[in-house]
Symmetry: C2
Subunit: 809 residues, 2 copies
Amino acid sequence: MMDTILNLGLNDQTVKTLEARSNNPRFAYDCYRRFIQMYGNVVLEVPKPDFDDVFDGQKKKAKAKLDTELTAEDLKQVIAGYKKLIEKKTGKPFPQDAMDQLQGARDAVFGSWFNARAIHYRKMNQIPDDLGTAVNVQAMVFGNLGETSATGVGFTRNPATGEKAFYGEFLENAQGEDVVSGVRTPRPFSELLKWNPAVYNQLRENTTMLEKHYRDIQDFEFTVQDGKLYMLQTRNGKRTGPAAVRIAVEMVSEGLISKQEAILRVDPQQLDQLLHPVLDPASKKSLAKLATGLPASPGAAVGTIVFTADDAVEKAKLAPVILVRKETVPDDIHGMEVAKGILTSRGGMTSHAAVVCRGMGTPCVAGAEGITVDEHKKEVGVTAGGKALILKEGDWLSLDGSTGEVFGGKANTLDADPSSGVLKSFMEWADEFRGKFGVRANADIPRDAKAARRFGAEGIGLCRTEHMFFAEDRIPHMQAMILARDEKTRRKALAKLLPMQRRDFAGLFEAMNGFPVVIRTLDPPLHEFLPKREDLMVDNAILPYADIKKKRELAATYQRFGAEVKNLKTVLAGLLKRVEELHEFNPMLGHRGCRLGITYPEITEMQARAVFEAVVQVAKKGVKVIPEVMIPLIGGVKEFENQKKIVVQVAEEVLGKAGRKDLKYLVGTMIEIPRAALTAGDVAKEADFFSFGTNDLTQTTMGLSRDDYTKFQKDYEDRKIFANDPFAVLDQEGVGQLVKMAVERGRKSNPKLEIGICGEHGGEPSSVQFCYRVGMDYVSCSPYRVPIARLAAAQAAISGDKSETQRTA
Amino acid sequence: MMDTILNLGLNDQTVKTLEARSNNPRFAYDCYRRFIQMYGNVVLEVPKPDFDDVFDGQKKKAKAKLDTELTAEDLKQVIAGYKKLIEKKTGKPFPQDAMDQLQGARDAVFGSWFNARAIHYRKMNQIPDDLGTAVNVQAMVFGNLGETSATGVGFTRNPATGEKAFYGEFLENAQGEDVVSGVRTPRPFSELLKWNPAVYNQLRENTTMLEKHYRDIQDFEFTVQDGKLYMLQTRNGKRTGPAAVRIAVEMVSEGLISKQEAILRVDPQQLDQLLHPVLDPASKKSLAKLATGLPASPGAAVGTIVFTADDAVEKAKLAPVILVRKETVPDDIHGMEVAKGILTSRGGMTSHAAVVCRGMGTPCVAGAEGITVDEHKKEVGVTAGGKALILKEGDWLSLDGSTGEVFGGKANTLDADPSSGVLKSFMEWADEFRGKFGVRANADIPRDAKAARRFGAEGIGLCRTEHMFFAEDRIPHMQAMILARDEKTRRKALAKLLPMQRRDFAGLFEAMNGFPVVIRTLDPPLHEFLPKREDLMVDNAILPYADIKKKRELAATYQRFGAEVKNLKTVLAGLLKRVEELHEFNPMLGHRGCRLGITYPEITEMQARAVFEAVVQVAKKGVKVIPEVMIPLIGGVKEFENQKKIVVQVAEEVLGKAGRKDLKYLVGTMIEIPRAALTAGDVAKEADFFSFGTNDLTQTTMGLSRDDYTKFQKDYEDRKIFANDPFAVLDQEGVGQLVKMAVERGRKSNPKLEIGICGEHGGEPSSVQFCYRVGMDYVSCSPYRVPIARLAAAQAAISGDKSETQRTA
């Protein structure tokens, strides 16, 4: 259990030899000091703070700020203090005999197997108690015994690019610490060849052998003592995403590893680095870092600041823009579409901004709590180097959506190459192993659908039809529909939306020729399409005091609702009244999803009509259309039956009228509230497919609002209450139980049931593997995560622990 | 399957005989008309609307508004039309031969067993297909064959009071319909004795025999034809709550039924009628009904209207008050406490007003959507007899919380007698059968705890500590705690709350001497204790325009936060800032419950200290104290462990310091979010008890906010999507699965685990029976529902299907 390396054998005698040989008395005594401290602490169990007291006391005495300012003489004082401390605490002097030291260390290691922490650790990790531990005893070598000695570190391949090149650094007359500390500048391997060709060649030979043995890139350390090479350590090297893919692919062609191994070698998350442009590291160094938020959507973005969606549209015509908001709302969508990147001061990894940006592949830094956004003044307050600073509209900003960093000024970006030859073959292998397990994309508009296809998506797993309603030409009709007081007026407004929605669907079907398209009926609560209640309350309250300028401003704001200066009072009061009626305490648990379609069947009817009219229209062109209509937020079979009936009625009518009853379609449902999972057996008797909405399923199963969780996320993560952000990584222990249950019960009562996932988790590797294991047919995620999901699925397939609960047809 | 009674045998011939004998030609032809219609519809399957067309046509022709205005001649026309219709539809004339009629009817009854509706019904109700149906053929008698004939209905006991009295009405020379239609006024049985003593005595003898046979109160119908008594029908009689109890108890003493049967005879819901005062039915008839809302908390309330909690406190000193609000909030608690009743225009059966009122036993009508409340103008708009009406502060109002009716003016009320001798013995029997299965009450203050004891509660199952913080002397400290920017300031405010909270707990412990008291740590989100965000936004927005009067008003409103006219801007802006920080999108799923105690451990610490200091203090007086500290809203064992550690630390310290380590206590948790139920096995390893918070468990399992559900509740109930309001009756199919799972997993890993329920369902009979069946130890409900729960539990025990999952110690 104790994996400390103790360099034994130093004592009052040997330290003098070391001092003489190394020509560096400070180094010798610092080695001795460190050794005594570590031995005292680990073997003799003297608390570390006691040693620190001695050391800090000496620093104070010597008026040294840095440890390195202590001279050899100072260190001798420290050593004396350490020895006194040990004698006081243990009753015995620090052992001078190397054999005594060795026995003490050996026994301490063996003894550590039985300490409370180790026993607890084994219990937690289910490691058997009788496994035992080992002690390695090995002679020490020194790289600092003069000009024929040296030390160094290296890699068998370039860990940044993956290029097969012998790569590393060394320092003559030095120990490992000198390389790491940065006091001296190490020299590249090209110079090692000149310094000692024999050593160079032997090192190259050794490490090539090690790489062959371990069948992976090696990260090694070595020391040369008096011209003789000693290998100190070797391990598999850490690498970047691009390097991981290149190394894996090249090792297959070198015959070192199998394709399966290559697939398992790359962390799916790392693929992200190959799919987005990145900020030039040089730029990052030269610019001032203004804040760090959550890395909500990866990639680099550089542009000028705008504060509103309308400004974004306007200014984007002249220069790239970064939209800076407290938080984004669906109403901002037109601004988000033109922005190069989004920065918000509120919201988490699954806030509106984050979700939408990941879907669009737009970089986003969310919840940057260090900044203060004033959307009215069009200012953002930041801190640079401890100083408060105000940025205004038009100032340049650079975002790193992969790290959450925000920089002032204009950085350079480096493009990624997603279709590079190496990545292409790698993904082809992944798809080979993944087999029938599908990867679809969440996409709402034809543009996203096309991107999804480019990334290898095999269909659309979630089209959120409401996103279409936020577009500028549609929202007035949507609002008219919501403000309608009777079905007739509602139907009139819906009739205007029908051709637009039909056009959208037709675009998706064309892009997905031959692949399925899952279309979800209207999901969000209706008040999301209207002005905010609190804004209306404020505007109503100040109206009696407003001067003509303010009135004109208000009239402009509410123009869409027929507001003019003279009728402001009536319009605002009427709007507020309707918004108050629609106001909800917990909108996430409110009048939304299928509940809307049950109250207003005409909405579902219009959407179904748009779907099937688009189906007929596109099929006429010879495109293969596979529509799957999905009902959201059901809690049991009765809600599903209610909505399915409407969809089937419309489908039969539209297809019948067109003489295309040959066209097949599915009607299925989201499983996104616990009750739907618990009653999945009944639901599956009626549903053609399930799609797990794990965002909402996580919210309801954990009783946790993803928008509000950010408030105490830190408290929970610091205390290790959640191992991961449950909105990023599926909570297999809790939410996963319901998913598993629903899959099993659903398949049991309907063996043909098609099952997938369309929550954010559908693009997270460990969650994708979970989905594979429980027997789903596919995952669906944002287009830019499709390759990640393809890889994760392939890895799950290779690991080979697929569930018994398989679809039978 | 067909339970229609067909009076066969009438034809063109016999109708003339009937006409002659009954001296009422209109009656004879109306009988014939009805018979043809029913026979035509049921046996010959001619749709009823077709008959209606004929009938309505004749009414139009005769210019008759009421059916009874049609003469015998008119009815002959109708009969002719019916016959023509039947011949047209079936190709055959209406059968005149009685044997033909009988065979047709017999075959229709047997045939009905196989129609689609019957097959579906059997499938739904799991009735075997081979059971078959029966046909009764019986001679017809007539009560309208002159002065020696009569007809009547009666009860063997008084169905309103339960008194053992022969009770009924009759009419001479009449048929059943004449009694029911109200055209003639029936005569009491006392006159039947005079009219025909032999019939009276025989009827009395017959019905006494029937009551003995069926061992229950009989509701019977009879006819006397030419002085001879015929019994037409008998069935068990419907009865009021008080009657049900009295009949059950008296039948036991009469030796008619066993105690078990007596217990099963009373619908637990009916007990409610014995526990609250009721509006005098005479008053209800004389006053104008203004609205009908939800019967949110039973009982009658009469008082003068007030619109704010402060006004309630003020005006209640002079006259009884009814608090009328759009919705109540925790801040209204002081007004709710003094009000005789509460009326709200928004919110459902589990809205704040409803829950609090049921807890306090205050009548409440909630969600009366027909009224419009203007709290600023202090007016409520209602509709009386189709006319709009404005009521103002001080106007009298009468509420029936058991029916949801709202009357204008001052009604009389009738007191209930909960300690009546009959009820007392009845409840004693119930408790006998209930055995060890406990019934506790939800109570937050000593007054409620005392009421709970009176109603037979065996402990407090839920004390919501936050309710204590809303009291006027406490909320300023609570607010100071929330506004604090650091732990030190927070602790200072908490220190002021400590003695108050300790006093409250001491009061509860004293009231519950020897019974357990479950105390829940702080649960609601902190913003509930501060002014509403939207109010602050409005006040901030209008501040620049406010004149001195308005400023003084605002200063008064925010006085508690140190507001004066001169510093209004700073105070309001500061408050808004903090409220914005605390603002949540879905407060139900936000920073509340144990999540607060995890972020601010000092709150849990203070509450634990108050609990255990009160324990020591009360125990000193010789009172037996059984404290159970309950952690709300956990999603897994880690949150519980975190909070338990704090509670145990404080408990050990306080009890240790007092030398009272002998005092025992439990630390347990609510199971109110699905993840807690799913991981109950792990949680139970650490928890001493579970208490199901089925309000929140229903909200999360169904993804349904109870406050927002009211918006579409009607749509869901009309379409039979939910069989019951899931917040009133536990959803056994969905939520129940999680409850059962948690009980089983909890008991498996901790056989000593104490398990109860403290959600609203703990007082709903079918839910109580569910709790009994799954093996809980107790239910807890509002004090006034304790007798209902005791009875429901007794019934479950007698039905005898208790689960295997029992507590072992």
